[in-house]
Every structure is written in C-alpha cells, then in structure tokens.
C-alpha cells in the first residue's frame, strides 16, 4: 500500500510516535493502534458523534479525521478523564452516572467529550446552549432528557466546586 508516515502526537498527556498509513482514520488509530477503545464508532460518516474527541482542546470527529492530520496535536479521549490509579470519575462522568444520563453507554463518551468542551467554554450554559452544543451527538437510547439533566448537574457541581 501507500507509504507509511511517521506521526508524533500526545494522547491524554502521553507522547506517541507511530508509523501509519496515510489513509488510517484517527478513530482507528486511537482504538486499534493505541488500544483506547472508549472512542466509539457509530457511523464513520460524521453524523452520530460517538467518536468525538478533543484535538488541541476542540471537539472533532475522529472518524472523519486521518491519523496523519493529528501529527503534532494534543488529543484528549474519554480515557483521559478519570483519575489514574484511583479511577475516580471526572465530575462530568459522575454527573452522567448520577443523573442516569446513559443506557447502553455507546454514545456516552462522545457526549462527555462534547460536554467537556462546552463547560470549558461556557461553565454556566442555558438549556438552549446545552442543546446547541449536543445537537451533533445522537443517542438512540435515552431520548436526551437525562443527558440534558446530566450536563446541568455537571455544570452546577463544577461551578459550586470552583466557587468554593
């Protein structure tokens, strides 16, 4: 096949150097080369949002990005959120648990990463702003109501914590 290219990138704070085919998607790279399986793939054509990750702090679809495009980037996936060793959940993850914001959980990493971006930019979003942010993520199980509740809960907890 095509010539392989070397890419260097940081994923969840860890530096990697790998040789990849130019056509390898970033989703496949993260999932199958780095074995970070939490970035799920639901459509591979950019609609469902299950593969949402942060590239240099901005949400992106790993299924529509090539691994070579991430050369030099800093990436965060859902695995980067909970505390290492203790496994303590990030407040957003905990809010999804507490507000029953998931059923099968396949879409959930995508929603959590989108929420992470949203609350980073807008710690106190209105419902409309939450819906606007999550409008590109599909969930077939929950009907979104508990997801909306989860994001509200996460925002309020994060705000309370930072006010304290």
């Amino acid at each position: 096949m095509s010539t392989r290219q070397t890419i260097r990138l940081t994923v969840n704070g860890k530096a990697y150097e790998r040789e990849v085919e130019p056509r390898l998607t970033l989703a496949d790279f993260i999932r199958h080369e780095l074995h970070l399986g939490g970035t799920h793939v639901g459509c591979e054509h950019g609609i469902c949002g299950a593969c949402t990750i942060l590239i240099d702090g901005s949400s992106a679809r790993a299924c529509l990005t090539l691994a070579v495009q991430a050369d030099g980037a800093s990436i965060t996936t859902v695995e980067g959120l909970r505390k290492r060793e203790t496994g303590q959940l990030h407040p957003i993850q905990q809010a999804f648990v507490d507000a029953h914001g998931l059923q099968c959980g396949f879409c959930t990493p995508g929603f959590i990463m989108t929420t992470l971006e949203l609350l980073g930019e807008n710690p106190n979003p209105t419902d409309d702003e939450i819906k606007e942010a999550l409008g590109g993520n599909l969930c077939r199980c929950t009907g979104y109501q508990s997801i909306l509740d989860s994001v509200r809960l996460a925002a309020s907890r994060i705000n309370t914590a930072s006010a304290a």
């Binding site: 399986g37 939490g38 799920h40 459509c43 054509h45 609609i47 999804f96 099968c104 959980g105």
Partner: protein, 802 residues
C-alpha cells in the same frame, strides 16, 4: 420443594427494601462512562483476521459469474468466501413460517440490494475492503418485485421460486360476532393507513469475532449478541453443527432494540475462519451496511381498518386488514411483528368483537427484522387514529370517547377478544392524571385561540396497553413453536459472603444488571454495590433468552427471587442443624438466618456460606457444600393457542396515556411539539430511573418513526437511504423533554408486581403525534394517514389542498 415467587415487595425477607423501588445508580455505569467496557470491536485476538463483505447492487438478479482470483492474490488476503462454499457447508437460515430463508451469502441469485455476495478475510479491514474492489461479479438482472401489489399480481416474478408465490402467509382471525356488531353499528368509521419502514438503528452496529476449531469441529462466537442461546441454536442449524459445539459469548451491546441483526454476519465470519484454517475472524458491520441490509428495517405496512360504534360512543367492533411487506423473506422474524398485536389487539377498550385479515408478502426490499415494540406501534396508530375519527364524527372529546370505552378496574383479569389476558390496570386513573398534568382544558382553550389566529395547533390524547413479558405462544400463528421463555440465573455466595449473580445475557442498556443487584441485595441483605453480576457463555449458562419483548426486568427478577428462595431454604436447613432445631424455626431477615422469636440466635449469610464450604462435618445429611442456587423462571400459567391464535401470552399489561400538543408550520410542513405529557402504569417500579429512561427513549424513537425516519426505496426497489444523512435520527432538538407522572397498579401475578415497561412509549408516541397532527388539520378537512408525517408530506397535503 415448592418455590413461591413473591409478587409483592412486602413479602421479601427484609424489614424494609433498601434498593428495590429506588432510583439507585446503575452498577454498569462507572465502566461505561470511563470508556472501558469491552464492546466487541474493542477486542482483538491473536492472529485475528478482518472481514469485509461485497454486497449486491441489484434488488433482484441472477449471479452468472464470480471471479475472485485478483482478490486472492492481494497480499494480506487469507480467505474468500462465495456462495459455492456456503451451499456446500450451510443450510438457509431457519424462519417462521418455515422455508422463507436465505443463505448467509447469496447462492445463485440475489434478492435485495445489500445482500452479501462475496466475503473476504484479510489481515486488516482496510486490505479486506481493497480486496472487494478486485472482485468481479456478473449479474443477469431480473425484474424486481417492488411492493405487495406487484408481488401479489398474477404472473409476478417470484422472490423465492421454490415457493411458487410471493405470499408468505395469508389468513384471517375472527374473534366474537364481528358481522353482527358491524351490522348493528350506528356508525362505522373506515380509513386506510400507510406505515413506512423504520428501524432500530442502535448506535453500535452488529459485530462479532468467530473462531472455527478445525480439530474439534466446533465454533466460538464472541459478539454483540442480544439473545445468546437463541443465536447459538440458529448458528448450529445453519452451519450444520451440533448445538453443543457452538459457544456464544455475549459482549456488552451499544443498544439493540431487537434490531441488532447478526446471524448472517456470524455465519460469514465463522465460515471465513473455517476457510482460513481456524484463525479468528472479526466482522464489524458498518453503518451503511446496517442501513442497507442489517437488522434495522421493520414494519412496512398497508392498513385498511374500521371501527363499529354505537351512537353513544360505545365501540363494539374493530376490523383490521393488514398487508405487510416483509421484504426478501422471513429471515429476520419480521413476521412476528404482525402476530404480536394479538396480545392487545383492542387496546384499552371493551371492544367485544374483532377481525384481523393478515397477509405477509415477500418483495425485493431488504428482509424485515424486529424493532422495539415488535408490531403494536403501527397497530396502535391505526386503532387510536380511528378512535379520533370516531370522536370527531360523534362530536365527542377524544379523551371522553376513550374513557367511555376503557376496561374498568373491577373487570381485571380481563380477556381481550384476541385471547390474551390483561393482569390489572386502572386506565381512567391514568387518563385523569395525565389530563390534569397537561392542563388539558387549558390546552384546548389555547388551541381555540390559536385556531382563531389561523394557526394549525392540534392535541393528541392516546391510550395504549403494553403487553409485557413475551411468550412464544403469542407468535404461534406465524409458525413459532412453544410455550414458555425460560430465563435462568445462578446466585452464588462465596466463602466470604460475597454474592455473584450469573446471567445468560450481557448489557444492552436497560439496566438489568442493576435490577439483578437490587433484587438479590434486598433479598439477601447485602449492599447492592458489592454484588457482582456476570454473563455466562452459552456452554455453561442456564436456559435463557435475554432481552426482548419487555420481559427481562421481570424475568430476571423472578429468576433471582427463585434462586434466593432456594438458597434460603438450604440455609435454613443448615442453620437449624447447627442450632439443633427444625428448619421451620429459622427465618431469613435482613441478611441473617435467625431463630424465630429469638433473633439474637442466628448467623449471617456470610457465616452460613463459610460454614457450608469449610465445615462439611456440620452439614445436615443431604445438603451439599454449595451455597449456590440456580433457578429458571418462566411466566406462570401460559397455554397453547387455539385455532384463532387466542391464548394467555404476554404476562403483564402496562398502560399509558400520552397527551401531546403540536403546531404545524403552514409554510414548511414542519411539526413542532409544544408540550408532551405522559402518565404510565407499569405496576411496581423496580428502579424508577430505569423506567423513566425507557419511557423517554421510547418517545424519542416514536418521534423518529412518526415524523422523520423512513427507509425510502425507489420504484425499482433501489434503497435511497444509506447513511444518517438520509435516515433522519432524532437529535436533542427534535425530542421533547416530557413531563411525566405515574400511577401504580401492581401486577397480581408477576414477580414483585412489576410489569414489562420497555416498549410502552414507542407503542404510544407515533399514534399520539399523528392524532395531534390530524387534530391540527381537522379545520381544513385534511387528514394525514401516512408515516412519517414528514415536512414534505405535510407540506404537500397542505399545498395540494390550496
């Protein structure tokens, strides 16, 4: 030993339930939000190959030649599978009715676009897909059968030549004196409806890893399997293996809703493993494959239906003629969808007679599969729409018409004309509560005002019954044999007192692991977060079915209660022996086996288990050193159907009424949901958060089916939908945030009084929305009788009128 399953929570051996009935957090969630759950595509096995499938671009064609030589030469390709292999090694899949199944890869001809024709196993999916491009297939095109009219026309091309017809099944059912009630009716309302194809579309598509052991001639399949044992038996049949040589390991699934599919993908991966000398082969269906030809197409229906009424609004008869386009055969058990309405044919109402004329037809569309609800969503849409038409003609309020016809609380258990017995209910109380919640009077006043302003505002008030806890007997009429759907668990206490529950299914989203932990923890007096729930593979699991037919929450509860009861009996014998008394003198309460009347004399569960495993000298005669128990639960008191399909099928009958207010935009045809209110009654709510999640998720799918989703085919039977750009899944913007409340009428016969509750909302939402839309259109004299009521369809309706 008689095992009584408690039907009330106050029968549990606990002074107060600590987990059952509470919206406790789910034990499955910490791993799911961490992204560490092993969905099948997260797993790799040493030496594993990857499968890609070349699919038919034609709806109906003879295969005249296949050339795979170039693909075989591509470095990395290990095996190529064609119809020749499949014909040599396999049988067509089992179907109900029999004889309408395909092979996993096309043999001789293709019957729908997307049908697998050639499959490749290679060292990566990328290479496998490259190889597909090197394969040449020659086709001789055949005339497609695009719809039931074409299929039933004399001289129509045949989808399955050997059958001699495209009609899979055609028969009528008469329940009660239908002719008389229609002859005596003061009013008859009749309408035709068209429900277009929709489907499950779980966010995770199907996937599996199959490994054929050539020495043992056995097969191990890991994958996103909803019903592991059923899947194993099917694979044994299609791959000609003894059933004990097929082992299914079910992984967590990213949703299912009945429409996960999987048999074809599993058989193909299994045969590729066989062809590549036993290397494991992974097949991950992609979304385009799923949309074209996966398990995600359901309910392609043409209805002609009538209601007979008395002048006072009493509904006396209901006739339904259904022609159901099953697509290319019955491989997906889509036929069952047409049989299931028998379980609640006449809904919430005292309708004395009913008639069903059912025709299942094969066409060159993709085969249909189950989807959540499994048939009642379109059926209820027909019944409830006719109720609204009748209300308009009689100038009765639609809520009032329904109320007049409800089965009354004192009439339960109530046998409906189509045979099933409803266990309990209080439909008027549900209606009262939802009308209050929605401020129905206020909604009507607002509607009057809006109409005066020329706005198209409508209200739907729709009641449904959700048959819960399915039984095979409900589907006997389309050729499914058997009575009873066993669900088995093992409850084990270890030497330190920790409790493990082994079940036959894996996670799919409904939270049954949590239900299992809640029930066992309350029964045995342990903390639910210390309970481990684990999935047994089919080689060691007890008989089970898994998710399906709104049954698993109830069934697993029953199984766990049974196993716990057996444990309790054994523990009582052991403790009685140690205390030198009779077992009847010992009781279990809050996790302690204690002397009745002298509770300070006793032992904890952990002490008893430890003693049983480490002090055989203290065991009474005949008690094994095994603080474990199994129990296989099955719905009590089910029976065989009569020749009209009548039987006690689904165990429970939950009920709900939805009230929805919509506005149609005249310029775009877009429906906006202004308010959505739900009151439901599914008996005891084992975990109220789970129930609400099931309701809301069902609403979302109902919104999709009623307003947006549709598998569109062109007149030549070419699918026009192959991505989520064309198949419109509802997002957070389309799904209403609903206002919910509930009442509780426990089931008198189901474990802890809980009723099946996974499908009620999708049973109700499409009907509620269509009724609201038609209420909005009523002043214009228009009716929409086709789903989805998409902007295009409604705009056309409004525009053609102008």
């Amino acid at each position: 030993m008689a095992i009584d399953i408690p039907t009330r929570t106050d029968q549990l051996p606990t002074s107060a339930t600590r987990f059952i009935g509470k919206a406790v957090n789910r034990i499955e969630d910490p791993a799911l939000v961490s992204g560490t759950v092993e969905f099948i595509d997260n797993l790799s096995l040493p030496g594993m190959l990857h499968c890609a499938i070349l699919r038919s671009p034609h709806p109906h064609a003879r295969i005249t030649g296949i050339d795979v030589s170039a693909a075989l030469e591509l470095p990395g390709v290990e095996a190529v599978l064609t119809g020749e292999d499949v014909e040599r090694w396999c049988d067509p899949c089992f179907t109900a009715p029999e004889g309408w199944g395909n092979y996993c890869l096309a043999v001789g001809k293709v019957r729908f676009v997307g049908e697998p024709v050639v499959a490749v196993a290679a060292t990566s999916r990328y290479i496998a897909e490259d190889a597909l491009e090197l394969i040449q297939v020659e086709y001789e095109l055949l005339a497609p059968v695009a719809n039931p009219d074409e299929a039933m026309a004399p001289g129509a091309p045949l989808v399955f030549e050997s059958r001699g017809t495209n009609v899979i099944q055609s028969r009528t059912y008469t329940w009660g004196e239908v002719d008389r009630v229609f002859a005596e009716a003061d009013r008859i309302v009749t309408r035709q409806f068209r429900w277009n194809r929709v489907g499950a579309n779980p966010t995770e598509t199907f996937g599996c890893i199959c490994q054929w052991d050539l020495a043992d001639n056995s097969l191990t399949c890991r994958g996103a399997y909803q019903t592991p044992r059923f899947m194993g038996i099917g694979r044994a049949a299609s791959l000609r293996l003894p059933a004990n040589k097929v082992k299914i390991i079910s992984h967590a699934q990213g949703g299912g809703f009945g429409g996960k599919g999987g048999p074809r993908g599993t058989d193909i991966a299994a045969l590729l493993s066989r062809k590549s000398d036993g290397r494991p082969v992974k097949y991950i269906e992609d979304r385009m494959e799923y949309l074209l030809a996966g398990g995600g197409q359901s309910w392609d229906r043409y209805y002609d239906a009538s209601l007979a009424l008395k002048a006072d609004g009493t509904v006396t008869g209901f006739k339904v003629r259904l022609v159901d386009d099953q697509g290319a055969g019955a491989e997906g058990y889509g036929t069952i969808s047409a049989a299931k309405p028998l379980a609640a044919f006449t809904g919430n109402y005292r309708i004395e007679a009913a008639f069903y004329d059912l025709t299942l037809v094969a066409t060159n569309r993709a085969p249909t599969y189950p989807y959540r609800g499994y048939g009642p969503p379109p059926h209820n849409l027909v019944l409830e729409s006719l109720m609204d038409v009748a209300a308009r003609e009689l100038t009765l309020d639609p809520a009032e018409l329904r109320r007049r016809n409800y089965i009354r609380p004192e009439q339960f258990p109530y046998t409906v004309p189509s045979g099933n017995e409803y266990d309990s209910g209080n439909y008027a109380a549900v209606l009262d509560r939802v009308l209050e919640l929605a401020d129905y009077k206020g909604l009507r006043e607002a509607q009057t005002k809006a109409r005066a302003e020329g706005r198209l505002v409508g209200i739907g008030v729709v009641s449904t019954v959700e048959p819960g806890v399915f039984d095979w007997n409900a589907y006997a009429t389309v050729g499914v044999p058997g009575v009873g759907v066993p669900e088995g668990v093992k409850v084990a206490v270890d030497v330190f007192g920790s409790v493990t529950v082994a079940v036959g299914f894996n996670l799919q989203g409904q939270g049954q692991f949590t239900i299992a932990a809640q029930v066992v923890a309350d029964y045995l007096g342990v903390d639910m977060n210390t309970v481990k729930v684990t999935t047994a593979s089919t080689d060691v699991a007890l008989p089970h079915f898994g998710q399906g037919g709104s049954r698993l929450g109830v069934a697993v509860t029953g199984a766990i209660l049974g196993a716990c009861e057996k444990l309790r009996q054994t523990f009582c014998r052991v403790v009685a022996h140690v205390m030198q008394t009779e077992p009847e003198q010992i009781e279990l309460l809050d996790g302690r086996l204690q002397m009745k009347g002298a509770p300070s004399h006793g032992m904890s569960i952990a002490e008893v288990a430890g003693l049983m495993l480490s002090r055989s000298d203290l065991l009474p005669l005949g008690v094994e050193p095994c603080p474990e128990a199994t129990f296989v639960w099955v719905s009590p008191n089910r029976n065989q159907p009569d020749d009209q399909g009548r039987c006690r099928s689904y165990l429970t009958a939950a009920a709900a009424t939805h009230v929805v207010q919509v506005e149609i935009d005249r310029d775009t045809g877009q429906v906006k949901i202004l308010g959505y209110y739900i009151v439901d009654d599914c008996g005891t709510r084992l975990n109220p958060a789970n129930v609400e999640g099931q309701l809301q998720g069902g609403v979302a799918q109902g919104v999709g089916a009623a307003l947006y989703e549709e598998y569109v085919y062109d007149p030549q039977c070419q699918p026009l939908v192959s991505t989520f750009v064309d198949y419109l899944m509802p997002t957070i913007h389309e799904v209403p945030m609903t206002v919910k409340d509930h009442i509780v009428t426990p089931s008198p016969i189901a474990p802890l009084g809980a009723k099946g509750c996974g499908e009620g909302a999708i049973h109700t939402t499409p009907a509620a929305l269509l009724c609201a839309i038609n209420d909005a259109l009523a002043p214009l004299g228009l009716e929409c009788r086709e789903t989805p009521a998409s902007p295009r369809r409604l705009w056309q309706l409004l525009h053609d009128k102008a």
